[in-house]
């Protein structure tokens, strides 16, 4: 075996392990959210986190770059750590009527792919991860919502080497939102 192919196998193994590590992260996150362990979920976030979900628009297909709203436009979410904390604190007041009683929520995460790794898989510091989400909410009696879409995350390793969410961009596959509110975290 040549050195080149050895390093190639090593790189592929490193990528595989990295993907497993990030997949585990996404699944942990889903569990924390669905088990309403929101404070622990906040700990997974980088201090500089951005969390965005644009509106989707019907435009001519040749105008595809206008099919979602952009930075500076109206969106569903344009959050940072302080506003995400507010959402969690509001849930904890016990007077946030839209989530009191709490909804039953399940996050399903699939189609996980590593989109980019910087600087390299052997010593990763920043990883872009793409996936699909399916979030199911059942509330009070018969109220049910299903949200499906695409998520592009950037995870950054902190000084201890733990992955923290730096950027989450969510594309929800709905033009008119068919739910009365968006009290869940995606």
């Amino acid at each position: 075996m040549t050195t080149a192919s050895t390093s190639s196998v090593d790189a592929r193994l490193a990528t595989l392990l990295l993907k497993d590590e990030l997949t585990e992260r996404l699944h942990l996150e889903a569990d924390l959210l669905d088990e309403q362990r929101f404070d622990e979920w906040l700990e997974l976030l980088d201090d500089d986190v951005t969390y965005t979900m644009p509106l989707r628009l019907n435009v001519h297909h040749s105008d595809a770059d206008r099919a979602s709203t952009k930075e500076g436009d109206v969106s569903w979410f344009e959050d940072d750590l302080s506003t995400l904390r507010m959402r969690v604190e509001q849930l904890a007041t016990g007077e946030h009527w839209a989530e009191e009683p709490r909804s039953r929520v399940s996050h399903l995460v699939s189609n996980i792919r590593l989109l980019s790794v910087a600087p390299n898989p052997m010593a990763p510091e920043m990883v872009e991860v793409g996936c699909r989400f399916l979030v199911y909410r059942n509330r009070v009696a018969d109220e049910t919502d299903i949200w499906v879409g695409r998520r592009t995350d950037t995870w950054r390793a902190d000084t201890q080497g733990h992955w923290r969410l730096l950027r989450r961009h969510l594309l929800l596959d709905q033009g008119v939102l068919m739910a009365k509110n968006l009290t869940v975290l995606f």
Partner: protein, 454 residues
């Protein structure tokens, strides 16, 4: 559908309103005919269609309409339904085009005034020569235009009814609330723009719950929104824990309603609250200057200083008229227990980028389905509607007696009353008085006569 509703369903004088009007299919169908086909309705903001050929797909009642700007720069509102077989000629939310080509049989409608005599007129008809022997009178088969349209400092309104009183007559003194919505924080009208993107979402509530909420329901705030003040959502952050920031002056000292017109707002025309105290001192300084400019301008132009705050223009457009926040919401009826809500956000057209960005982020965490404030409203509207659909529940009317007999004529406006206490249902009582007048099926002339021909 019935032509009119039983007047006993609504008794504003005694503060009693039947639940039927919130859940009945018959009442809903009559509303489409007597209210949505006759009232002035909000269509969109001029800044959404800045260039010739621009269009925005809007809605009036349950129907899709196109807000367009033609090659001469004129604005039109057209029913989005082909005259041949009814297909939507446009299913895009926005864009730029000079014609709408129906994807069904290919009839095309031009908004280019150089090709047709009236924008929206039928232009292209496949097989016009061989199939119609050129006998089809294209001038008679254009897209249906609204009967009246008005551009109020950038806010576009329209009505299907040629007999509806003029926009000025219809709005009365409420125009000062609309002026504030259309004015920048220095008080200059026509100097706001709509941020791109309209939030649209469905709720399982009767559309009137939305209107009532902004019309003058100061009563719900402390209970419905207790959770947001606890987390420091407002401009002042955690140190000034109200969702609007510390305005130095109370947000509201009374509310205003237009007894014959149905509109209402939670503040008065003669009272202006302060600008918020922001966490960032630079923003406080910026808005302090703008607020002073506003006061000077309004005084010079002899406009009342107030008319800020949440309000509703009858029947279905609600607004936050001041800049803190400044947004508008339209409750589009879908069915008696379902509504499609559209939310626009407006900002001064000349804000420094960082201030515009801050306001946008505050508006988004405040309003809309992901807004910390509005989320709890929707929970209440939906389950109030749901718990009013039952046979037993429908036997018992709602109570609207808060502040009954506690309103007096406004000293600033000649067509309005003001409540002596900031929490009142006077506005709702007058809203339903107007609602009942239209729902009776009376003509505009009869309605006008009943209010003394004012």
């Amino acid at each position: 559908m019935t032509d009119s509703v039983d007047p006993l369903m609504v008794d504003p004088d005694n503060g009693i309103i039947s639940r039927e009007i919130f859940v009945s299919q018959d009442v809903f169908d009559t509303e489409l005919e007597q209210i949505f086909a006759r009232a002035w309705l909000f269509i969109g903001h001029e800044s959404q269609i800045p260039e010739p050929g621009d269009f925005f797909n809007s809605r009036m009642g349950t129907e899709s309409v196109l807000l367009t700007r033609d090659s001469e720069g004129e604005i039109h509102v057209l029913l989005n339904s082909c005259r041949h077989r009814g297909m939507k000629v446009c299913r895009y939310d926005e864009g730029n085009t000079h014609d709408f080509v129906c994807p069904y049989h290919g009839w095309s409608y031009s908004t280019d005034g150089t090709l047709v005599s009236v924008a929206g007129e039928l232009f292209g008809v496949p097989h016009y020569r061989a199939g119609y022997d050129r006998k089809l009178d294209r001038s008679q088969w254009g897209l249906i235009p609204t009967a009246q349209m008005v551009n109020h400092h950038g806010l576009i309104f329209a009505t299907w009814d040629p007999d509806t009183p003029s926009f000025d007559e219809y709005t009365g003194g409420f125009r000062f609330w609309l002026d504030n919505l259309a004015a920048n924080t220095a008080g200059e009208r026509g100097r706001v723009k709509a941020l791109r993107g309209v939030q649209k979402w469905r709720i399982k509530a009767n559309w009137k719950f939305v209107s009532e909420n902004f019309l003058g329901d100061n009563y719900h705030g402390p209970t419905s929104h207790s959770s947001v003040d606890a987390v420091g959502l407002g401009p002042g952050g955690k140190e000034a824990p109200t969702r609007h920031g510390d305005n130095k002056k109370p947000r509201s000292i009374g509310s205003t309603s237009f007894f014959d017109l149905g509109h209402g707002g939670v503040t008065t025309a003669g009272y202006a609250w302060g600008y918020p105290e922001f966490e960032d001192e630079n923003m406080t300084t910026y808005f302090q200057q703008r607020w002073q400019q506003r006061e000077q301008r309004l005084e010079a132009e002899d406009r009342p200083i107030g008319g800020l705050g949440p309000s509703t223009m009858f029947p279905s457009m609600s607004l936050h008229a001041g800049a803190f926040p400044r947004a508008l919401i339209v409750a589009h009826p879908v069915g008696p227990t379902e509504t499609e809500v559209w939310r626009w956000f407006l900002v001064d057209d000349d804000l420094p980028e960082d201030i515009e960005s801050w306001l946008r982020r505050w508006y988004l965490r405040y309003s809309g389905p992901a807004g910390l404030v509005e989320q709890d409203d929707m929970e209440n509207w939906d389950y109030a509607t749901d718990a009013s659909t039952g046979t037993i529940a429908r036997r018992y009317p709602y109570n609207y007696q808060l502040g009954l007999g506690m309103a007096s004529p406004s000293e600033v406006l000649d067509d309005a009353v003001e409540s002596s206490y900031l929490m009142t249902e006077e506005n709702a009582r007058n809203y339903y008085r107007r609602w009942a007048a239209l729902m009776s099926g009376a003509s505009w002339a009869e309605i006008d006569q009943a209010r003394g021909g004012k």
